[in-house]
Amino acid sequence: MAKRRRLRSKEDSVKTKLFNLDELIDSIPIDVDIPIVDECSGPKRTTTEIHASSSVNLLTKPLNIVQIPSRQRRRLTTIKKKVSHLDPLDDKLFLKHHQRAEKSEKKMTNIEKERVFTEYDYYLHCLEQLKTVCQDYEASMVPNQQMMLRITEPFTTIDDPNDRQEVLMKIQLLIGEITKFTRTFERLRKLELKLKTLHNNFYHQIDNPEDSDTEEEAHMDVKRLRETRFYRRLKHGPLIKIRFLDGTVLVKDAISPPKVINF
């Protein structure tokens, strides 16, 4: 039976509700101009202090680093009666154990994947219900409060169910957050399938510009490297650059996704 994995994403304190929408509502808006001033004497923004974790004492723990003279190493090898050119730590030595351990790790990953799949189905279902509730609140003078509370209860707290503004804001934020989740899931699924295809085709590709790992490149200087890779990429299609009047530049080549350079 696979052990639990300590996932860093789950290490935060347990939230009673899935989405902390109050935090979203109170957060600093990202599209408002914030003044930059030279001097000021006003009060600083109240902040939570950035704490290091309890392992902070490890930052200064001495590790007693000792350098072993290389002559000592060579002397040890001459003690061996037979000099062998075979690698005593060949890959095959590790293969069995690592493959078994990989299978075991994948079991844990699959448990997590299954959970995400279930969540995805559940969230899709909830999304439909939330949209219905949202329409009800927007259109009706007497919306169905009980239904609204039942649907929003797993996700967030409504402080005042009679406050239409709060209810609508939170439902809309919830719809936004759930839509983000489902889109991220769909994006990752597509990417996973793309990576699988890449891996399967990898050894059949004669020239893989994305992951060249050749000996000849290892000895090239930066300028030569850039030229070689640039011309190799061009074999797969042209490089297109569109300059807009406001200075924005759109770049697309045959391999990478399109990029916007606007500074």
Binding site: R6, L7, P35, I50, T77, S84, F94, D213
Partner: protein
């Protein structure tokens, strides 16, 4: 000592006392039970699995920690500093070092070439190397949950000169299927090579990669203690550089969105950093506040300047753009 039964790979105490990496030998910081098979703590995992392997035993006296007698599963682990293959036998490692296939060339695609080289090593292409790297890294990282299923990870390894050889000095890993599109999963500079600003170099490189990909990104959370310090320093330098001397040095105001897009640093990381530097002020008491009434917070340049002075930092980039080859 026993495994922490809750979590994979985590032990309550260090189970390997010291590690020899190439020419350097040093203490470990954390335990790693994944080097061993469950229930077989007297030998390494591959030794237990390969039942026919001739086992070399070394007897050693029980070492002490902080004056207390404590037993380790292994006193010293010997690790090749090029391929990170590991063994309990010093002689075996020394034999391997002269024939290690990475003696001639460390694998991977060169992405940065200067005094230090950064190479991208695909977890799919170089499975054993990357798995061994993850196993080794756990000895110095509190939190790590992936060691063997690394086919969807890229590893960016920084190489430098040490005693006439070009060796790996640290690395960061990047998950290709990251939920939050993180640009870094874990980062480690190996203990003998710390204090050379290589951590900063790798963090800066990870953001150059994000810039090349056209993404606003950041590290996987939560950060370790080392990670928190490293990242806050990096983010602070970037904000100071751009607001004092760089792109926004002449601006009277800025949006977090614009700053985020330009620096490729996430908005929440920018906010944490501005909080950390104490550079946010409420505008009600700021001079000439008539023109500043559009938003109740403002950023102070003088505080940023004081921060740079306090850190004795020059905010310049470590990465030389001419040395980058990101495609």
């Amino acid at each position: 000592m026993s495994d922490n039964e809750g979590y994979y790979g985590v032990t309550q105490k260090r189970n390997i006392r010291r590690v020899r990496l190439g020419d350097n030998e040093f203490d470990t910081l954390y335990g790693n039970s994944v080097y061993f098979l469950e229930g077989h703590h007297d030998m390494l995992g591959y030794e237990a699995v390969n039942a026919h392997q001739r086992i070399h035993h070394r007897k050693h006296s029980e070492p002490q920690i902080n004056g207390d007698t404590d037993s380790y599963w292994l006193d010293t682990l010997y690790v090749c500093d090029l391929c990170f293959k590991y063994t309990r036998d010093e002689a075996l490692l020394n034999s391997h070092l002269s024939v290690c296939k990475h003696n001639y060339r460390f694998p991977g695609k060169t992405m940065y070439k200067d005094n230090f080289t950064i190479k991208k090593v695909s977890g799919y292409r170089h499975t054993i190397l990357c798995q061994n790297l993850c196993l080794f890294a756990k000895l110095f990282l509190d939190s790590k949950s992936v060691y063997f299923s690394i086919e969807n990870f890229d590893f960016y390894v920084v190489l430098g000169e040490s005693n006439g050889r070009r060796v790996p000095m640290g690395f960061f890993s990047k998950e290709l299927l990251s939920w939050d599109e993180n640009n870094l999963a874990c980062i480690l500079i190996f203990p003998p090579f710390q204090r050379k600003r290589l951590g900063h170099l790798l963090i800066e490189f990870s953001y150059e990669l994000s810039r090349f990909e056209g993404k606003v990104s950041g590290p996987e959370f939560p950060l370790s203690a080392f990670g928190k310090i490293g990242y806050l320093k990096y983010w602070s330098k970037v904000i100071c550089r751009e607001l004092l001397y760089g792109r926004f040095s002449d601006c009277q105001s800025i949006t977090l969105q614009k700053l985020s897009k330009f620096t490729c640093i996430r908005v929440k990381d920018l906010i944490s950093t501005l909080d950390y530097m104490g550079s946010w002020f409420t505008t009600s008491d700021i001079e000439n506040s008539k023109s500043l009434d559009q938003y109740p917070l403002a950023i102070s340049r003088s505080v940023l300047k004081q921060w740079i002075k306090g850190e004795s930092s020059n905010c310049q980039k470590l990465i030389q753009e001419d040395s980058l080859v990101l495609y």
